[in-house]
């Protein structure tokens, strides 16, 4: 395990307290002096303590068990996109490295294309037309994308690391933040790009809670 090993880079790590303690305590970088090693340990101890209070919408275990000891859950969400009902991109933000950075024009094209594909997929189902919701999950080797469409036609896209659990919860929470900090803001014009400082602050606090 490398010395600059970062616990937040590990996504769905499940461990028991004993194992965890051994790993952390004995995995100090060898070449450090005692003082800096102590500091290193202290840092890790703090990280561990904050880590156990996992901020936990992600975790489906019952609260006392999961949050205290059993799960270290770090959420790796790469990006969040919001599309208005006409398929225009109104919000785009990268949170973790992992996706190629596109030009703003390309993001607009991506949004428009996805909007079209979503419209087609929502009509493609042969069985019933009432429950057709269109494209919801898109998986590839390097990422998974979750789409959530509100009743008014706004779409929320969340790009995350593959095998990321409970992405639908994340999307719902983003929707909740959107309805709080964007829709209740009197300076926001509907269907226009989102420039709300409160929304960005709360969104990044939710998606990157420990950084």
């Amino acid at each position: 395990m490398p010395a600059d090993w970062d616990i937040w880079a590990v996504s769905d790590w499940v461990t028991k307290p004993g194992e965890w303690r051994n790993e952390v305590m004995e995995e100090g970088p060898e070449e450090l002096s005692t003082g800096s090693r102590k500091r290193e340990r202290k840092k890790r101890r703090q990280a561990r303590e904050t880590g156990f209070k996992c901020s936990a919408l992600l975790c489906s275990e019952p609260r006392p068990r999961c949050c205290r000891w059993y799960h270290i859950v770090a959420m790796v969400v790469y990006a969040v996109l919001i599309l208005n009902k006409a398929g225009g991109l109104i919000f785009q933000r990268d949170f973790n490295p992992g996706l190629q950075k596109l030009t703003s024009n390309d993001y607009l094209i991506l949004a428009g294309t996805f909007h079209g594909v979503h419209a087609i997929t929502s009509q493609i189902s042969p069985t019933n037309e009432t429950g057709a919701s269109g494209l919801e999950v898109l998986e590839s080797e390097n990422f998974v994308m979750r789409c959530f469409q509100t009743l008014t036609g706004t779409k929320f896209l969340v790009f995350a690391e593959p095998r990321q659990p409970n992405l639908d919860v994340v999307v719902r929470r983003v929707y909740e933040l959107y309805s709080d900090y964007v829709m209740k803001n009197p300076f926001y014009q509907i269907e226009m790009p989102i420039r709300s400082e409160g929304f960005e602050r709360h969104l990044s606090a939710y998606i990157k809670p420990h950084q």
């Binding site: 709080d180 900090y181 209740k184 803001n185 009197p186 300076f187 420039r195 709300s196 400082e197 409160g198 929304f199 602050r201």
Partner: protein, 224 residues
Amino acid sequence: MNRDTSPFRPASTGASPTPKHASLTASTNLRYSLTRKSIYDRHLNRTKTSELSKSAFAFLFGEMVQHAQKKVYGVQDLEKKLNQHGYAVGQRFLELLLWREGRTAKRETRILGILQFISHSLYRAIFQKPADTLEKVRENEDEYMISDNDPLVNSYISVPKEMSQLNCAAFIAGIIEAVLDGHCFPAKVTAHTAPSDMWPGRTVFLIKFEPEVLEREGLRHGST
């Protein structure tokens, strides 16, 4: 006979047996409840401890800000408008608050007393928490500051960059101003954003008393 021959006759005439307000009593609308009592018939203490949906308030306040924005030319003007809205609320609220205090209500005669009243009683009555700090401006004799770490009215509002001077808590400043005026402490109250690391939305209400208030304070209590 006559009735049948005129098809263009309006459905209801003056002679119709049902009185006009029958529909009002039959169904609830905003002004009349089923029991035909308006909110003015209720006891004033009835809503003392009841709570209001924060979202509903946020939408209402948002609409208020948008409405005020239509008729103004600048940030200063908009703040003044919000301040006026708050002033109207404050005048009424002070009356209600003193009525609710009943026999324990006291007429504040000192600056410190009235400021305590605002930052505790008034703030608690409106927001269910006291104001966060109450300070005196060191340089100026007539200026005081009440700060609120996260004003309720601003909790969902993000002011755009081009209007960075604006603070919608001018509404609360108006309430405070009205309460001060009602207690015969005429003052100007303004809201300023003073963000700190922990509280990005921290707001300071700067209270500047008129000179006659200080003069009176000096006459009454100056020797002590």
